[in-house]
Symmetry: C2
Subunit: 319 residues, 2 copies
């Protein structure tokens, strides 16, 4: 199998867009048809939150909802990013739904980036890496996984090694999209913020091991909410793919993420979760369509168009 970096490049070029759709199911935002699956007490008519519903039924609803989202976006985007927290919230049945969603997405030709922000000391990190990384060679079947760096290099190494062996990838948290990220990430050490130190580690791994496209398979998470830092990191991390969260509902615009790309429109995936999957309830397409699926489609096409217009990702269409 080609490396993750090569497969990501191929998927982005095939769809001519770097849009990554985040699968973050929340019970209170599901279209009504899925709420009746989720609740046994009132058929979804009496309550808005998941507090009182059967976890197994919510998990089933999450699975079926995500299948429909995947049906809509699979022809348009290269990859999806299931957020593991929202499945884990509903216990092992939630995780069972996640397994099914991963398989469904892969069958539809999408790359699957698991957003778990996992990490632990070496021998335990191996267990996460073994279970989660490897499209055809792991229990979960992820093409890539997000990894938290607080435990340091010997905790990231097992993920990097398994990723290499199985042609998978990881995305290490560098500069996250939330304000509170500054608490640790922006502390200044030797004249550079902590996130630069993490960035340096990640880039150094890729600088000695990258695909013909120039990028390695050890990516970085860099938030869309910090446009200057994004452009600066693009410059200092020329061999590193970026996963960029924070577009849309978190405030990042297409202009804000323009600096994440190289001149060819490669080098970054830009994630949108709620702004796409819950477009029928939130954002500019809310309540504009009879069918909720049409809002999801419109939001996906809108994001693709905006990135094409306002970032180097537009150059993907020239090929």
């Amino acid at each position: 199998m080609p490396s993750f970096s090569e497969r990501l490049e191929a998927a982005i070029k095939a769809k001519k867009t770097p849009v990554l759709v985040g699968l973050d199911p929340r019970y209170d935002l599901l279209p009504d048809e899925f709420k009746s699956i989720g609740c046994s007490c009132c058929n979804g008519t009496q309550h808005e939150t998941g507090d009182y519903v059967n976890p197994e039924k919510v998990a089933t609803a999450f699975g079926q909802f995500c299948y429909r989202i995947i049906d809509i976006v699979a022809p348009l985007v290269p990859a999806v990013k299931p957020q593991m927290a929202f499945f884990e919230q509903y216990g092992s049945m939630g995780m069972f739904a996640l397994e099914n969603v991963i398989q469904y997405a892969r069958r539809k030709g999408l790359l699957v980036i698991l957003d778990g922000k996992r990490n632990d000391i070496g021998s335990t990190a191996e267990a996460y890496a073994d279970g989660l990384l490897g499209a055809n060679s792991s229990v979960w079947g992820g093409d890539a996984l997000t990894v938290s760096p607080y435990l340091g290099d010997d905790s990231i190494e097992p993920f990097a090694q398994v990723a290499r062996e199985r042609d998978a990838g990881i995305f290490v948290l560098v500069k996250t999209s939330n304000k509170g990220g500054a608490m640790l990430q922006d502390l200044v050490v030797d004249g550079k913020p902590v996130y630069h130190h993490v960035a340096g580690y990640v880039e150094s791994r890729n600088a000695s091991d990258f695909a013909p496209n120039g990028y390695g398979s050890i990516g970085a998470v860099v938030g869309a909410t910090w446009p200057e830092q994004l452009a600066e990191l693009r410059h200092s991390m020329p061999h590193t793919w970026f996963l960029v969260p924070g577009y849309g509902s978190q405030g990042g615009s297409a202009h804000d993420v323009a600096g994440a790309f190289d001149a060819n429109g490669l080098g970054a995936l830009v994630n949108n979760s709620r702004g796409i999957i819950f477009a029928h309830k939130t954002g500019p397409f809310a309540d504009k369509f009879d069918r909720w699926e049409d809002a999801v489609l419109a939001a996906t096409e809108d994001m693709i168009a905006r990135l094409a217009a306002d970032t180097p990702a537009g150059n993907l269409r020239l090929r």
Copy 2:
């Protein structure tokens, strides 16, 4: 329900020891009787690793093995710490086994500290906290959860808030037991290593909200492999419970963890995973007993005795 801090105090005083048993099941180290549950190809006779076995069968073996461990240690120790990675490694069936292990441990009167090192931005952190925290009020039913701090204060806050509402606790990674932890944790900012900055944040939360025992419910993970830092942090974090990994197979001794306790023998839980649950295969009790359970019992009693002899935890016996 009393707060997590009060329940932890009561459990430690009832068992007169701060020993925490880590549930880190690994297929290759399971006693033979569980390997025959785990594999369908050769009844456990032909291979030593879990690579070729059915994940569902491994998950079943993990559950049954952990039940037996719990039967042995429940009369002796206050709490267990399932490592989520080893269950997640085997997919949703592994997570199902974990759910059952949590319930079994709680029925046997043990506190359950989930070791997941979870974290994410605020709204997603809420989903983890909602699912994992709360002995009687969450899907997973954890009394406490380990949390990674790289995403900063607004990512820890949702865990702290749910913990408070549900009388649960969290343990924030401060100074981890592995060598690589130094990469970020020991970077010096304003004359203090990064882990001191995290420590200061955690302690400040507890200093304004602690139980009559003097400790709050926002704990800290501090490795046994750094005895000086442990004692120094005990001094600077007087209202914070410590979860201390690294005893035994990672090299920490009873002497090394002595500084984690206050004069009454409270203030810390000391974890041992492999050294107890795989005592029949590794460490001083390996191959010393006919029954593997007797090695587990001997290792547990040995650790209890060593902590009583060489640390202030011995004072728990004076009551």
